[in-house]
Point group: C2
Chain length 463, copies 2
Amino acid sequence: MTFPNDARVALNALLGERFSEKQADRDHHAGTEAHHRPAPPEAVAWPESTEEVAEIVRICRGNGVAIVAHGAGSSLEGNTSAVKGGLSVDLNRMNQILDVRPEDLDCTVQAGVNREELNTHLRDTGLFFPIDPGAHASLGGMAATRASGTNAVRYGTMRENVLCLTVVTPEGEIIRTARRARKSSAGYDLTHLFVGSEGTLGIITEVTLKLYGRPEAVRAAVCTFSDPASASRTAIEAIQVGIPLARVEYLDDGCIRAVNAYSHLEETEADTLFVEFHGSEAGVAEQVAFFEEIATGNGAAHFRWAEREEDRNRLWKARHSAYTATVNQRPGCRGWATDVCVPLSRLPECIDHAKGLMKSCGIPASIMGHVGDGNFHVVFSVDPTAPEELETVARINSAMVEQALSCDGTCTGEHGVGLGKRKYMEAEHGPALSLMRRIKSALDPENLMNPDKILPPMETPAQ
Amino acid sequence: MTFPNDARVALNALLGERFSEKQADRDHHAGTEAHHRPAPPEAVAWPESTEEVAEIVRICRGNGVAIVAHGAGSSLEGNTSAVKGGLSVDLNRMNQILDVRPEDLDCTVQAGVNREELNTHLRDTGLFFPIDPGAHASLGGMAATRASGTNAVRYGTMRENVLCLTVVTPEGEIIRTARRARKSSAGYDLTHLFVGSEGTLGIITEVTLKLYGRPEAVRAAVCTFSDPASASRTAIEAIQVGIPLARVEYLDDGCIRAVNAYSHLEETEADTLFVEFHGSEAGVAEQVAFFEEIATGNGAAHFRWAEREEDRNRLWKARHSAYTATVNQRPGCRGWATDVCVPLSRLPECIDHAKGLMKSCGIPASIMGHVGDGNFHVVFSVDPTAPEELETVARINSAMVEQALSCDGTCTGEHGVGLGKRKYMEAEHGPALSLMRRIKSALDPENLMNPDKILPPMETPAQ
């Protein structure tokens, strides 16, 4: 693959030093997070506006150059690797917070703004944006991946929190997917079509998001259980009786061990729930009492409450470090995170099934789960130079997906399909997959937008 | 237009008496709700299963017969009129509640089940389904129209509450749009593509819905204000400070007058809010106190609380009768309901603008608004035999849409596009409209599914 000279000349003229073919820049955009094989693009562009993105797309289209949109590069399924070469469009210089409208509880940001930057900016407004994937993801990337995180049980995922998008289409046209009204019945839901489309239908350049008032009162807690089922049952029962949990995260004993080592903590090494409650003072007190009753009924021990903000922050920092803590247990190893999500009632059996697979494989691994959503990850610390380890984890991943599908669940709750989950699309969607293919062909007939992602190759549907 | 004999023979063989070409049956499926001109199909079919719908679609497709899915027939924009003749597929015999899963807080119903039937069925489970458009709509129709109602401010619309759908595609293939997991990142969001697609991309035959626990405590209230702005400002401020209002409905003085006459009530004839709070006993008490403070600050008077279920039911029955009460003010007249939805902060100016247009027109009309969503209706009682009245209302409707679009709002918050709102699609969506056309062509290349709905004709984009 060589980069067409006409495209090079045009992109150089448009972007100057914000266009690069240097090996270091290409390697930095190869989608190397997690265990997937790096696939660098032939060149990288750093646009600063939607109009520049549109011009870049038109240049690429005119020269048959594949385009991969690139945010923070923190996705885990090879979602941004440039398997067909071409141009990586890095949106990190599109980092303007364009408008915050406290009176409408919404804001508009460029795609490269990350969630921490937004929340820092919002600090004085009394508002916040709740979606928090583990990584320092960009909001455009989060929309493209339909990301979520620990707050989804209360606030929803990117699916529920994107009001509208500005998108550059494969033709290089700029569209808005919807108006800013909170609801609409005006035609096909383009916003939701692009949320989760992973750059395969166009490039998201601006995101309009719902915001929420900071709760008057927040309390967080940790408690332990004698087994995974008791922990997940506690979360399920709390949701079934209607406690509006803001967060309810499960970490297994191995995960706590890894977090303790990594973050210098001394949490009890047992199946653990991290929970958080948002509301008024009285409302939170009520939720806490109700939750404690349910947890105690399931044998919870070692209850520890974090009422001060700094204690809570330490707690959630530990939770957010769980992935890295697990991966770093073995030097030189990389992460491989499974990501099934199942109906709530099926969660305990799926966690048990995963536990069984983990134990027998001998590779260091942790379970961390957004159990209020029925979503959990097994994170393996895998040696990328050991093919037999990669094979073992691949086998466990597939077994977990098969189990999840048999429970009417999904192969990916929040990481997206990328390259890694394509092989499960047929089993998950059946004949509906052909509709996805038609939509892709209709919107991107030349297959230039993040090619080979989401949809499995036609020739080998099982691959 | 004559119905192809091959299709007649095949449908007769498949359905027997559940296939009809009788004029009375055709007229009953002409989309006559509201002010749109009736357009009867050439025949009507009453399938009883998804498989029968698939077979019907395959027969129609083989004979070039247009297909209009028909639920309760309560849509207001000519959404189910058979403008190209063909077959109306009436889903009312698909009225089975297939599965209720309290442990997962979800259920699956056939498309013809209506919301009251579902809630009656759920009575003993402690669960309920909150979406309540004014009419006795079918759940399939509500999904197809992306309907909402009075509870959307707290529980969302059909957009937020459909977990997955079973759909018969234009090829007559049966697909499921998603798994039953609460979240997923597994490819394009087909569920949201079909929610709101008004039968133009396929026929929804089964709907899987989120359910909610009945709140421990419920309180409802009515209060009046000296002007529309004070009423809507109260709703807006309550939402901005984070009171989790379950319902907040605005009715103008004219609407209260109509409701009083129709429902034999004696509400004060003034700008009025109907509100409802859901939660624990303590939580509701807290919400009520907070809301009263805000309302009083905006000059609220005549506060009346309804704590008993029967009093609340009477209140909401009155609210739900507002459309009929308004239309019935003049014998022989029909309803014409506008349906704009705007960002919350722009609501008072849009209501004021509508008030001005209403006053000067001399046609009886009411405002009723889901003001917590920024959505409101002006309902006119219009004489269908008086072209100048229809013209006047059409002009006001267009002026309201123009105003809403200038506020980044939408021409339809919950009624759908049907025939009536097609003329605004270009102004609302701009170049994004061409993506909708491509999706329609990709999924229904022969244009047999509810033809001429949602998308304006290509020749005359302004019509």
